[in-house]
Every structure is written in C-alpha cells, then in structure tokens.
Amino acid sequence: MHSCEEICIPERLHKKNKHAEKKFNSDEVLFRRFNVPVQLKDKTDGWGNLIFKLDNDSYNRSSFSEPEDVLYNINANNCDGRYYQKWGIYELPLNEINNSSIEFKIENRKRLISFSAIHSPVDCMYPHSELLVFENGKQLTREDFIGPIRPAVRTYLKKFGKVKKNPDFD
C-alpha cells in the first residue's frame, strides 16, 4: 500500500480528515472511467455495455471533483501508473436515477429495482462514490445479482448517461 504522495495523486483529492457527505445535489453527476477495444472505435453506441460492470462499480461525484480526476489510479504502484490517460470518461446524471424505482420484467416476473448513490471516500480519492442496487429496499448481493437482471439494469442505466471524453485509440 503506497501513500497518496508516492503515487502522485493531487492533494486536493485526498480524504484527510473529511467525512462523507451523504446528500447528493439534484443536478449532480457521477463520473466513471472506461475503456473499449479498438475494434469498437467507431461503434460508439456499443460502448455502454462495457461501462457498467455492476461489480461494486466506482465513480467520482461531481461536487468534489473534475471529470478527469476519475482517471487517477489510486491502486497504482508508483507515479508512472497513476493516470489512465487513454481511457474515456462517462457521465451519469443522478436526477432520474438516484433513489428512484423501476419495474423490470425478469424471467416473466416483475421485480422492483432502485438505485442509490453513496459517497464513500477513500484515502487518496475523497470524491469516490458507488451506485448501489436495491430490490424491495434490500441491497442486491453478488449472489442475487446474477442472470438476466444484469443486462436489464445495464440497459436502464445507459439510457441516461453520455460519454464525456472518448478513449484515445492512438
């Protein structure tokens, strides 16, 4: 485990003694970095499937960061690996998603799913946040979150977001 200084994460992004800010503004967006294979370079509408891995996905919230800050790699081993220069940035507005419920028909059964953004600062990245998925008020565990519910949730989420910065394919 390296210190934030050792991996060259800017000090303004460090958590220090700051606590999580639970409340999200209505106009707030989440930033997520992503990459796509060069074969999909010109197939921009196919990128959405690769953005939401639905596996404790990490985001940065816009209240405390600039879009490009999400390209910092807080798990880097040194300053050389600290930044995903060539990756793209996806912007997901929260106004229609956060704390709202949507009914999906999964295996011909109706399931009520909701999403909740949480601010979960980590030492080198205060803006770090997650988007949790709930069913009937209970957070979906990895065991519950399998099968056709996954493409359904991806289909829903990618309706709202947009690419803020394209990956660099050069």
Binding site: P37, Q39, N49, L50, I106, G147, I149, P151, A152
Partner: protein, 176 residues
C-alpha cells in the same frame, strides 16, 4: 510416439493451421478449433502498450460475408485484461456464431456486437427508441433483453427458441 501424434494432429488441422498462420506467427499459435466453415485460432500475445500478456482469438472467416467478418472482428482481438473484463471464451464465441448464423439466415440486421463485461458476447439491435439485445455468456446461457415502450424485460432462452423470438420480436428489424 509423441512425434507421430504431433504429425497426426498437424495433418488433421493442416488447413486450419495454414489459414491461421496466414496472419499469425507460427510460434504464437497455441490452439485451434475447427468448424464447418471457419477456424478459431488462439494466440498468446503481448500488448505493447500495456505490457500485459493477453490471449487473443483470431477467427478465420474468409468463407463468410463482409458483414460477418466485421462482426467477428468486433468480438475477437480482444485485450480483455486491459479492459478489466473477462474475455469471451471458446464456448461463448461458438454459441455466438450459432446465434449469428440464425440471425443471418433470418436477415436480421445486427446493430452492434460487443464483449460483455460479465464475460461473453452481446448482440444489439435498435429501432427508433426500441432496443433489444442477446447476451451469450461464457457459461453457456443465452439471455434476451428488450426495452420497448419504456418497459425493460429480460429472460434466459435456449438456442432452439431463437427463431421464435426473432419471429415474434424482430419483424420490424429485418431488412429483407
């Protein structure tokens, strides 16, 4: 004995090896699977940008149409570790090719193909605001998802149900 086995194996796969090595260095070739009209060539590859070893799959599909070639290219040559996803495996590629053949025979226009973040391959279809996808997983399952009139539904299906799904859900997507 080993040499004889290798020779037998080589002769059995000779046409595929020749096809695969037309665009691969022989030493890179690790495995070949053959099908009626195409070969899948597995290669170990070092990505020069990220210096990670990646297994990439090259599919020799010269007997297929240009559309098919482009589609296959989208799901091969995949630097999965660089993308931090699980690469489509042999099973999902083979099943995706089965799905492709059926879609192709029904003249269904595929909008896009991409690897799935869960491992596997996704076929996408769009028409105005409607959206549909097939996801073929690395575990041998097939999923159909649709977003029509604001309702999102998703279910698993067996490959022999595919034609029924196309018939009932895809009429307006065909370009016959």
């Amino acid at each position: 004995m080993t040499a004889t086995n290798n020779l037998t194996k080589y002769l059995q796969f000779a046409p595929a090896i020749i096809a695969c090595t037309s665009y691969l260095v022989v030493d890179d070739l690790e495995q070949i699977t053959t099908h009626d009209n195409f070969n899948i060539c597995y290669s170990k590859h070092v990505d020069t940008n990220f210096e990670n070893e990646n297994y990439i799959k090259y599919i020799d599909n010269k007997n297929y149409s240009i559309d098919f070639e482009n589609i296959i290219k989208s799901l091969s040559y995949l630097d999965a570790r660089v993308l931090e996803i699980e690469s489509p495996n042999k099973l999902s590629i083979e099943n995706a090719l089965k799905v492709y053949k059926i879609l192709h025979s029904q003249n269904v226009k595929i909008h896009n193909i991409s690897p799935s973040p869960d491992g596997g391959i996704i076929f996408e279809f769009r028409k105005d605001t409607d959206y549909q996808l097939f996801e073929i997983t690395n575990y041998g399952t097939f999923m159909y998802t649709s977003d029509k009139d604001g309702e999102i539904s998703s279910r698993t299906f067996k490959v022999d149900e595919l034609e029924n799904i196309i018939y009932s859900e895809f009429n307006e997507y065909a370009f016959m």
